[in-house]
């Protein structure tokens, strides 16, 4: 590689993807979220132009075909036109969320956009000033579910000046993601690529140092657990080798934080502690607005106050109002009360009274009985719901919270 090649590697834009697990009750927050994936795309395009990139690589899941969003596909076409006007080519692979047979608005992309074939690993030369400076190997998801180990079909040619593998894959079977186009680090290393532009996993970062294999991550976090900086990579390949540089593109940060109330004496102190956490999250977000999920945990007298009807909602409402007025704003998406009674349930467990009987009863329900009970309760409630929410409830945890709730009422503050 005698000549330097610079390109931008992004993936998992998920244009139009529904934001899960967020209660964006405020119009400003809704508008920011709706615009965020598109703004991230704009920033990627802007980055290509400002970095004078040779080309852009998109490793799958540009949009969510299932959402049938014309607007998103039109926006993608518009972005590709901007790149085309600047003479920047784009190499795009379909992923499991936008497979080749997925819903399409039928919009024609510019000729400067190359979409990898779904039939086989395709080899494409990138020519600059009449000279091939890079070769890209890639394959699109023809359909949503791909379980074959495509990585084994990637093999560079000896005369490739710079070989880049583009693959939407789950390397190492990472939990929480569908195990599509599975690959291992050894398989990536054996293909002879100089750089692997990977997609599918939303957390950015390296998978392999040599050769460099990188997940671009999603350029805009889509749900509460996709916190921290999100963006894409500027990759530069030259005589020094291949180096990647992360650039944040998200418009809105997701953040999670917890406050331990062990030393908190009351609601006012709790509000102050929550405000401090928000300030920290705001500083961490580096000038971006943020959506913050707060967990309040620990044992203190605050538990009893929060357990009173309306108190937790009141605290959340106040926090939202305060933090939305700040610049940049923070939307406190949820304030989960995970506080515990000051007295451990063990104190009741050994007592002969009603509470002791209740605690022992709850202890006996752990495991299968609790699961059956939860399923019974949820089954009755969710049977006629328009959609079943993604609850992800642990039966034992629910049982424990129910036990503590009962104890809160049975053993008010005066008992302690």
């Amino acid at each position: 590689m005698s000549r330097t090649v610079r390109f931008v590697h992004a993936a998992d834009l998920h244009l139009g993807a529904p934001f899960k697990g967020v209660d964006a009750a405020d119009a400003r927050v809704r508008e920011a979220l709706v615009a965020s994936t598109h703004e991230a795309l704009d920033r990627i395009v802007g980055l290509c132009l400002s970095e004078q990139a040779d080309f852009l690589v998109l490793a799958g899941d540009v949009y969510n075909a299932a959402e049938k969003s014309v607007h998103d596909q039109a926006a993608f076409r518009s972005a590709m036109r901007r790149l085309a006007e600047a003479g920047v080519r784009a190499y795009v692979a379909h992923g499991n969320h936008d497979p080749a047979d997925g819903w399409s608005a039928g919009l024609q992309l510019p000729d400067t956009v190359h979409v990898f074939s779904g039939a086989e690993v395709e080899r494409v030369e990138h020519v600059r000033d009449g000279e091939t400076v890079a070769v890209l190997y890639g394959r699109s998801f023809p359909t949503r579910k791909v379980t074959d180990r495509w990585v084994r079909d990637y093999e560079r040619r000896a005369d490739d000046p710079l070989a880049i593998g583009v693959l939407h894959t789950n390397v190492g079977g990472r939990a929480g993601y569908d195990d599509y186009a599975p690959a291992s680090a050894d398989e990536l290393g054996g293909a002879g690529m100089d750089y692997w532009a990977l997609g599918h996993i939303h957390m950015p970062g390296r998978v392999l140092d040599d050769p460099l294999a990188v997940y671009a991550g999603c350029p805009q976090g889509l749900q509460p657990n996709e916190d921290g900086p999100r963006g894409c990579y500027v990759v530069e390949a030259g005589a020094h080798g291949v180096e990647e540089r992360f650039v944040e593109t998200a418009s809105v940060r997701w953040a999670r934080s917890a406050v331990d109330v062990a030393d908190v004496g009351g609601i006012d102190e709790l509000m102050s502690a929550l405000g401090d956490v928000c300030d920290a999250a705001r500083a961490e977000a580096a000038g971006r607005p943020a959506i913050l999920r707060l967990d309040v945990s620990g044992r203190s007298a605050v538990h009893a106050e929060l357990a009173r009807p309306g108190v937790l909602d009141g605290v959340l409402k106040t926090m939202r109002e305060e933090q939305l007025d700040r610049d940049p704003w923070i939307w406190v998406d949820d304030l989960r009360d995970r506080t515990r009674r000051e007295l451990e349930a063990d104190a009741s467990r050994t007592r002969d009274g009603f509470d002791g009987e209740l605690v022992r009863l709850a202890d006996g329900k752990r495991g299968a009985p609790a699961e059956a009970e939860l399923e019974r309760v949820l089954g009755a409630v969710t049977a006629r719901l328009a959609a079943r929410p993604d609850l992800d409830l642990d039966a034992d945890a629910v049982l424990e919270r129910a036990r503590d709730l009962a104890l809160d009422l049975l053993l008010p503050e005066a008992d302690r």
Partner: protein, 890 residues
């Protein structure tokens, strides 16, 4: 600690300041007739502990006979101390005054956990209160909470949880929170489906758009081509018309050109031209052109001759003014130019400057000589008066001055130290006289020492100073020391002489320098005078040496030289002008305008030249007209040829256009115009079709772009996500609440099934004793006070169906069990019962109750009021060590 005495200070019908006491540690039975005040004392204890009821209360007021303020006192005591609680009626029931150790917390501790109502029902009760136990919710709650080891009623908790759960969801509910969220979610999902449907429509409409684009593009292309064809035909028709017109006008123009050509040729032949004159045209033109110059030359010759004459006259006068020695030759010898004047000025300045410098240096030298002489004369006179040595007066004056200065430092009479000498002599004298008087010779001898010292101080230094003064007088040239004033005058003269001597030396030096400068100035002035003379000779201006005279002479010579120069210039000008006139005449002769003898006659020459020039101009005009006519003929001929060619080309083009348009061979422009109109109509139809297709395309495209720009789907999906989130939280909260409810309900059921409250168990025991084993069990569902009893055969009987006596036994048993269970209530809080055994069915049950009460009193003090002696005796049997008190009728 126990209650020892009850003092009725002012209370109801009780005598003022009456007391009830000493009460026993365990059971005290107070026997008295009706109206003896049993109920009053029972009530008074409660009022002192909790306050008097206000006038609005429905409770009996126990107002004293004289309407005075109610007041009472309770005296508690243990082995070591006594506490007095006294309350007088007042605001908020009156303030209790407590005396005794830790008085401030005594009452609070005593009544902790027992409200006024509970006290009235449980601790200080009569028959009226006995059956009211079931209506006291506080006691109910206490009963079960205590049974459950809690302070709150589990049934209340169950209801709270049930309310919470039902706020979220219920099987039959429609407006619960989860139902409401579900309805919103269903609506959001409906809108999502609508958005997706619109996206599907977009896709098919986009395909329709592609087809419309292709169709409209095709129609536009066809319309463009048709319009081009129509335009082409129209252009061809216009062009054909133009060609026809062009052919017609070209024919007419050719005819006109023919005529013009013929006319030009005829006019040219009529013109007469003098060829001889035209041959000399160049010479005549030159002479005519210089005719005015010739006239000027004649005039210049005459004017120059006149100026020469005037200049000669002026020159003659100038030479005459200069004098006899001057003529034109000498005048010419004097150099001209500014350098002569510059040299003159420089020499004159130099001469004047050296003269001035010479005079100045001579003046300074003369002044120096006078000054030197004056100083010398003064010094000589002073030397003589001081009698200084003639050959070395200065050295002599310096020596003498030094001596005089030294003499002035040693004034006369400074030969010894006279005061110390006198002191020493005085001391010697005193010692000597004292020694003599005392006859002590040693003292006399010792006086010799100060005496010797005095002699030394008085005379020793004087011997050495006299010699030095003599030497100084000699050096100063004095025989003896004069007065100090004279010495000072001598010092001044000597110093004055030395100053004059130094001034004279300096004046001599200065004079020698000035004399040297004067000599140098004289030499320079001589050199300047010599250079001046040499310049005069060189310039031929030897008539005078004085610079002023020479400057005047030079000015006149310059005037004469200028006059001579003007003579020469005028002569040359006159000669030149005359020669030019002759030359002009020769040229006129050569042109044949004058004869040789007429060459010197300028008037004749001028007239001949003018005549010839006029003739030549006439001939030339005729020649130009002839040339013009020939050129016009040539142009008309060429234009004629071009017209004929264009006409032929237009004919050919017209034939081609008609062929292209597809017109018949014999067709013309009108047929062509018809074809163009038909093509235009066809183009209009094609364009209309293309416009319609484009309109439909734009409409569809606009609609699709609107759909593409809308992100309503994203918003509604975000709304759906929010609703799902809220729904999830609500469901989660419901799951927790419902599970908690289930736990509480299961625990309650367990209690009902397996664990009767301890109070009920104890009440069962007491009730069993009171009913002599008739009833074994007391049952009540947890959370209600729906009492039932079971007999030995487990036959259940509802509390409402019991006889009054049995029911009162049950309530008394429950009350005693309840109080026993109140382990956190102060042991000194007494129980006062007002004849509660009267309705018991038989004496056996009364005795059993008395036994139960006596047993109870071992743990908590009991004061039992009765008006029945039989009851008192039952107590006496049950508790022989009880205290008995009596009350008289009030």
């Amino acid at each position: 600690m126990r209650l020892r005495r009850i003092d009725a200070v002012r209370f109801g019908a009780l005598p003022r300041d009456s007391s009830l006491g000493e009460l026993g540690d365990a059971l005290t039975v107070v026997v008295g007739p009706n109206e003896a005040g049993k109920t009053s004392y029972t009530t008074l204890v409660r009022h002192v502990l909790y306050g008097f009821p206000n006038a609005r209360s429905s409770e009996r007021q126990y107002v004293p006979v004289n309407d005075d303020r109610r007041a009472g006192r309770l005296v508690f005591a243990d082995g070591a101390a006594e506490w007095v609680v006294e309350r007088v009626d007042g605001t908020y029931g009156g303030t209790a005054e407590v005396r005794g150790p830790e008085a401030d917390v005594f009452l609070e501790r005593l009544t902790a956990g027992v409200t006024s109502d509970v006290y009235r029902s449980v601790f200080g009760f009569g028959l009226d209160e006995l059956s009211d136990l079931a209506t006291l919710s506080d006691i109910q709650q206490r009963l079960y909470a205590t049974a459950a080891g809690l302070r709150v009623d589990p049934q209340q908790v169950r209801r709270q949880l049930k309310d919470r759960a039902e706020t979220l969801w219920s099987a039959q509910g429609r407006k619960k929170r989860i139902h409401a969220l579900n309805a919103e979610l269903a609506e959001a999902r409906r809108r999502v489906r609508e958005a997706e449907k619109r996206a599907d429509e977009f896709r098919s409409e986009h395909a329709e758009l592609d087809r419309l684009v292709e169709e409209s593009d095709g129609l536009q292309r066809a319309a463009r081509e048709e319009r081009l064809r129509a335009g082409r035909l129209t252009s061809q028709a216009v062009l054909a018309g133009q060609l026809e017109s062009q052919i017609r006008s070209a024919d007419a123009e050719s005819e006109r050109l023919h005529q013009a050509l013929e006319e030009a040729r005829a006019q040219a032949e009529k013109l007469d031209l003098d060829e001889g004159l035209l041959a000399r045209a160049e010479a005549i033109d030159e002479l005519a052109m210089r005719a005015e110059w010739f006239q000027d030359a004649v005039l210049r010759a005459e004017a120059s001759a006149e100026r020469a004459r005037e200049a000669r006259r002026v020159l003659a006068e100038a030479l005459k003014s200069l004098g006899g020695g001057w003529d034109e030759a000498r005048l010419a010898a004097v150099p001209v130019g500014t350098s002569v004047e510059s040299a003159f000025d420089a020499l004159e300045e130099r001469l004047r400057e050296t003269q001035r410098h010479l005079e100045e240096t001579e003046r300074l030298a003369s002044e120096a000589r006078e000054t030197t002489q004056r100083v010398r004369d003064e010094a000589t006179a002073l030397s003589s008066s001081l009698d200084l040595l003639e050959d070395d007066a200065q050295r002599d004056a310096e020596v003498r001055l030094g001596a005089v200065i030294e003499l002035l430092k040693h004034p006369p009479g400074t030969g010894g130290q006279r005061l110390p000498a006198a002191v020493a002599a005085g001391l010697a004298l005193v010692m000597g006289v004292a020694g003599a008087v005392m006859g002590d010779w040693l003292v006399v001898a010792a006086a010799l020492l100060p005496l010797g010292l005095a002699a030394y101080l008085a005379f020793g230094p004087a011997f050495s100073g006299e010699a030095a003064v003599s030497e100084l007088l000699r050096a100063a040239g004095l025989k003896e020391r004069p007065e100090t004033g004279l010495l000072l005058a001598l010092q001044t003269d000597l110093q004055r002489y030395l100053v004059l001597s130094r001034s004279l030396w300096e004046a001599d030096g200065k004079l020698a320098v000035l004399e040297g400068k004067a000599t140098e100035a004289a030499r320079r002035h001589a050199e300047a005078a010599e250079a001046w003379d040499a310049w005069l000779a060189e310039s031929g201006l030897t008539d005078a040496a004085d610079p002023l005279v020479v400057r005047a002479l030079l000015r006149e010579v310059r005037g004469a030289q200028q006059a001579r120069a003007r003579v020469t210039e005028a002569d040359v000008a006159a000669t030149t002008a005359r020669q030019a006139c002759v030359t002009y005449g020769r040229k006129a002769e050569q042109a044949g305008l004058v004869k040789a003898e007429q060459v010197a006659d300028p008037v004749l020459i001028a007239a001949a030249v003018r005549t010839a020039a006029e003739k030549l101009e006439g001939t030339r005009t005729a020649g130009r007209r002839a040339d013009q006519l020939r050129a016009e003929g040539d142009r008309a001929s060429a234009e004629l040829a071009r017209h004929e060619e264009r006409t032929a080309k237009a004919v050919r083009e017209l034939e081609t256009i008609l062929d292209d348009a597809g017109a018949a061979n014999d067709a013309g422009v009108p047929e062509l115009e018809v074809l163009a109109e038909m093509a235009a109509e066809e183009a209009e139809r094609a364009e209309e079709a293309a416009r319609e297709a484009l309109r439909r395309r734009s409409e569809l495209q606009g609609r699709l772009e609107t759909v593409a720009s809308e992100d309503a789907g994203a918003r509604v999906r975000l709304e759906e996500a929010a609703l799902l989130e809220r729904l999830g939280k609500a469901v989660e909260e419901y799951a927790v609440t419902a599970t908690a409810l289930g736990l509480v309900e299961e625990t309650l059921a367990l209690y009902e099934r397996e664990r009767q409250p301890a109070i009920l168990k104890r009440a069962e025991d007491i009730f069993d004793v009171m009913t002599a084993g008739r009833y074994r069990h007391v049952v009540t569902p947890l959370g209600s006070f729906d009492l039932s009893v079971e007999d030995a055969e487990s036959r259940s009987k509802h509390g409402g169906h019991l006889s009054r006596g049995t029911a009162e036994q049950l309530y008394l048993a429950l009350r005693l069990a309840y109080i026993e269970n109140l382990r956190d209530v102060h042991r000194a809080l007494p129980v006062l019962m007002d004849d509660v055994l009267v309705n018991f069915d038989d004496e056996g049950r009364q005795a059993a109750a008395a036994t139960a009460i006596a047993e109870f009193a071992k743990e908590r003090q009991v004061v039992f009021f009765t008006c029945h002696e039989s009851v008192a005796e039952l107590f006496a049997e049950a508790s022989p060590d009880h205290v008995r008190l009596s009350l008289g009728r009030c």
